[in-house]
Symmetry: D2
Subunit: 286 residues, 4 copies
């Protein structure tokens, strides 16, 4: 079995975390804390514009939004497709934020490349080895979500497919796993995140939205992730969560997101870290 | 949420199980018990030939074998590809058995169609909605394995993608889920299988090989599946398990498989059922 | 760690299963299949009498019924206590069946000893090491249920407490574990049962009632357990499940239990086994 | 089912958290953050003395140590018993710290009452309803650990047994649950902790030692717990972890614990909270 080990993702003793350049001057993995925010699904021009403005004003670094949505049921909203990608790219350009969106299938890849700075591989596709191989070839930065049924080792092996394919611009994202307790949507495995950070040289971020599914728990888990050493967050924000077409109950309002962004600098400072771009922002502000 | 329900897969009161025609006169879902057998991975001409001869002689109805292998590690054996499919198709023709193999990706689909009678969607791809949609269009019979992290409802929803896409020739296959107890490879959920059979009109089979990962437990679980009402089995058989390139520890030897096939008729009879093709075989034999 | 291994419960190569004498001539672990049946909770004289008569007529070997009920909520019915034990003992004597009931705490032990032939340690108490030590001292036969959060190794270690305490009259009972899929009450781990039978010399039985929580699945799982090699069953039967004070939805009606008992002999015969006491019964019948 | 709800533990809208007085002026649940620390098992006079001195100097508020150890194997170290309790009480008195130790069984209760200020009910006993009822009668403060196989609702119901028995001096302690990923000892459910804090008026603390089982992850998870809003920590510290008789790999060294205690005030301040007794300490220090 030794020959099947995921070795390219491992952190050698003393080795620094890989820095992933996301575009527009945003780097993830340089020790500072990076925040990716935006709506679960891209719905229409107005919603995308309001979302982007809100998260930018609050200090987010990267804009997220889903154009192709993997849905349990074939009858649920499946996403705007290319129209959504256009809206996302426009807002990213306008606000000078790199944008990220999920690619569900190899066949969507060339289209995605035209619009997004960062590719996301979703939890349901972590084991889609064909997709991993093709995404590796793109050399585009990629966020690899942990499958909700995947062990930590399997997650690292999935990342190994990307590195072995020639792409080391990989960010791992813990988003909760399944356990016998179904009170919440998933069980956020922050200790697993911390274990992966020790073992791998890849930066690791946390999604406190899908992992809980409950708005009031998103900020506590976002702060916990920062305190536990994560390199950043991917968090869902919606201008009007009560009308969201997808996962409204877990979306932060712009006001809640603003509050989170104001709490992060002090919390990070307590553990000797900084929010990405925070110096610049405060310099401008002062 | 009501509008997102998987309704096409449901069994109406008194509705019969859908019969799926696999080719060469083999039907799954007609009340009789059908056995799919063969090696985990297709390795070479000799191994495929010996496997096919062994399972045919013992009374198997369908020949299985993987040409594209989804492997946790990029460094593990990934399968013979088209060469494997050729070997499989040859042996199926020779022994008058329909053949089944796993399709991992949309891009493999047209190639697969040239060689296999039945498509298999593996556990890691149950949530690959793009693949489900494309497989639906083929109208080819398909075995849909349950994801090892998927709920029973999600499994039915994945099947709904196939039926909603116009293909009702769908067989569900329970192959074990993950639980906190990792003594065995997976936790075989036979009660979940029985629950799905009640709720859905699709035939349901059981894979006692992947679910346990331990050779000595395969026959007990195969018999348990038959006693619990499954429509059939998918079981791994290898002429020399100790040399297998993939999952040798869970492969039955031809002798063990023969013993299983001899036990099944009596067991099925005790619950008022029959082994598929058993009348014919015994008629010839008498 | 080697010195902490559970060695007394292990089966040496070729070693026979321990035979546990339950009283009234009933032995569990002699290769034949033994059925323990009765209501979840003892409710009143009429219910106990009807339950006992029904299960005896259908061919059950041991009568079960709970007098002390471990309930998640302090406000749920907690059992009849000693009055229940009296009713149980009376019916056992009347029908010449040994009786079994759960002991929840060391303080109940001397009382239980006056009424029951077999002690049951429930799933929630598998890790109650103080109770295990005291039950060991009684030398009374004991059914040790697997905790729903316990690994197979931990279950064997709990049994080791009993054997190390001087009591080898121990029967293991698989009753389902927790998994991420909560469609059913628990996930019945039949493969785990089969693994334990291989590894340990203790007889192993299966509880298809608590493990599923659904009446229609009890018979399929009971048959599956028999086919997989279990030494017996513990199954809940209630004269009028719709009025049961505890777990009515999983109780078999007397008619369903009768049907199960008629199916078992043929099924067991297909795997070379017999129902306990079946020869006698059929001899009388012929 | 409504009548079986755990209502006494619920938090009414706007209701404050119950304050639990642990002795020696330490209160848990008053908004400040309280730290319980000490060795897993009490081993001998020297180890207890060194542990107590170390945690006191670093600023811990309560001293912990196990005298009766619930061990999976009957052959593992089972604890010093009363001798351990004496050592613990002596050090508590000497350092003016309330002490806590686990009670495994009703029969140990009167002995425990002579030595400890706070009773601990361990994870394996959360469902030991007889023990819960007897502990309720003592009116002594109690830390109720969540069972590693227990849902959040079941944990609240177990606490309801205590409150319904007349004791509201109850502290809940999240210590990790079992999941399919066994890389770490358990899966720490911090979001579950936060959910329970919202729903219940009982204070909730976190055990980052048992939940991870890995020394290097204890501090990240302790900080995460503080950031997520927990009322305190229960953490294992050993003067020489490499010689510990129990759970050495998860014990912090005194130096690591000191570092944790120095990080907590700043982290808590970032979310508007304080370390318990911190004002006094800093006042003395200035």
């Amino acid at each position: 079995m030794a020959s099947h080990e995921a070795t390219k993702v491992l952190r050698a003793a003393g080795e620094a975390t890989i820095q992933v350049s996301l575009g527009s001057g945003v780097t993830l993995g340089d020790g500072r804390f990076t925040v990716i925010a935006g709506p679960c699904a891209l719905e229409n021009a107005d919603q995308v514009e309001k979302s982007a403005t809100a998260v930018k004003q609050a200090g987010a670094h990267v804009l997220r939004g889903g154009a192709f949505k993997p849905r349990t049921s074939p009858y649920a909203f499946q996403g705007l497709g290319e129209m959504g990608l256009k809206l996302l790219a426009e807002q990213g350009k306008r606000h000078r934020m790199p944008v990220i969106s999920e690619v569900m299938d190899v066949s969507q890849l060339s289209l995605m490349m035209d619009y997004v700075d960062v590719l996301q591989i979703g939890a349901r596709n972590m084991h889609n080895f064909s997709l991993l191989r093709e995404v590796a070839k793109t050399q585009r930065p990629v966020v690899l979500k942990r499958g909700f049924g995947a062990t930590l080792e399997e997650w690292l092996h999935a990342a190994e497919y990307l590195l072995d394919g020639g792409n080391d611009q990989v960010i791992l994202c813990e988003r909760g796993i399944r356990s016998f307790d179904t009170t919440l949507r998933n069980t956020l495995d922050l200790a697993g995140m911390a274990w992966v950070k020790e073992r791998s040289k890849l930066p690791v971020i946390v999604d406190p939205s899908h992992s809980t599914g409950v708005r009031s728990l998103v900020i506590p888990m976002a702060l916990a992730a920062a305190a536990a050493g994560a390199d950043g967050l991917m968090v869902e924000v919606h201008p009007t969560p009560e009308t969201a077409l997808c996962d409204g109950p877990q979306a932060l309002t712009p006001a809640m997101f603003g509050s989170l962004m104001q709490t992060l600098p002090g919390l990070l400072q307590a553990t000797g870290r900084k929010l990405s771009g925070y110096e610049a922002l405060t310099a401008v502000g002062s």
